[in-house]
Every structure is written in structure tokens, then in C-alpha cells.
Subunit: 109 residues, 2 copies
């Protein structure tokens, strides 16, 4: 049923951030910070959180509540499933195929 074929841009970014951060650091606020620092674009925590939950619904990510090692209130940590990783890789392959032959900076002026 919920066989998704495409990832939205934010969904894709958010999944990539969970990979970059790893299992011990990928909760909402850290993902927001990672995305802003790597891409330079602001993103609302709720947008990230909702994207993650909807990805979980469609089987592309999974999560668990867990108190951080340093102590403090429990957070929800996310990571992509195998299906999520496959879809990310396919999406990347499609973009690279379309970009190939186009100079990286051709649209800048």
C-alpha cells in the first residue's frame, strides 16, 4: 500500500541529516541545527518533526524515545530504514543522471 516512489526535498534532507548525525544524535533539534549549518537554509522544528513522523508511517524511517546519555528528558531518535536508504540512493542517482553534462554553476550567472 504505502509504497512511496519519491521523496520531497525536505524529507530527503531530513533523512540525510539523520545519517550524518548517527544513532546517538539524530533527534529533532539536532537535525534542525545540522540542516541549517550544512545547507544554510532555515527550517522550522515542527516541519522536520512532521516530515520524520510521516516517513515513519510509510516505513522509510523508524524511531524510539530514549533519554540521552548525558541525562535529561527523553528524546525521540530517528534513523532511516533499509527502504528509506534505498529510496534516498535512487533519488540521488536520478538527480546525478540529470545533472551530468550540466556545469555545476551554470545557473548562477
Amino acid at each position: 500500500m504505502g509504497e512511496k516512489q519519491t521523496l520531497g526535498e525536505v524529507e530527503h534532507h531530513v533523512l540525510l541529516a539523520t545519517v550524518r548525525l548517527g544513532a546517538t544524535a539524530s533527534y529533532t533539534a539536532a537535525i534542525v541545527e545540522e540542516l541549517e549549518s550544512v545547507t544554510g537554509r532555515e527550517v522550522a522544528p515542527a516541519a522536520v518533526y512532521i516530515a520524520l513522523r510521516r516517513l515513519e508511517e510509510s516505513g522509510l524511517a523508524e524511531s524510539e524515545m530514549r533519554p540521552p546519555a548525558e541525562g535529561g528528558r527523553p528524546r525521540r531518535y530517528f534513523r532511516p530504514t533499509a527502504a528509506g536508504r534505498t529510496l534516498m540512493a535512487e533519488s540521488r542517482r536520478r538527480f546525478e543522471a540529470l545533472w551530468s553534462g550540466l556545469e555545476p554553476g551554470w545557473g548562477d550567472g
Copy 2:
């Protein structure tokens, strides 16, 4: 104000196809064929057409009806505006930043 900040995956693909095809070949059916041959993924002509029209509404693409050089009924030819090219380049930069440090095939297994 229609100041778009992000491109959907299909929107982005479709804009890239218009660039690849150039001004004399970028009408709906040709774009569909280009996308399928380059990305290997099927896409409906109407999905492409609607994406292009919505991009035009938000100032990221422009179009005109024109009979093809070979003769035949007029077609609508599309191309990205400067704003569209800028947004494509920014979106690409964000993806590459997030991908950097991750092997291209890490999600394949």
C-alpha cells in the same frame, strides 16, 4: 507573494529536462521521454505539464506556443527563467553539501 523557496522533486527534474533539451525541443512529450530515458522512471505527461504550468505561475519557467520547425500543430515550449535557474542551482548546492562525506552507494547494500 509567490516567492518559492523550494522545488519539488518532479519540478526540479522537469526544469532540468528543459535545460537538457534546449529551446527547440522542450515541450511536454519530449520532456517526458527525456526524463524516462535519463532517470529510468515513468512519469505521466499530465504530471509534467501541470508541474510546468505551476512553475510558470510562480515565475520559475516561461513558455510560448509555436509550431515546430518541421511543421505540424503548434506546441508549447518551456524554459526556466533566471529565478528558476537560480533556485535549481541552490537546491543542487544544498543536496551536494548534505551528500558530501557520504559515499554515493552507501544505501544500496
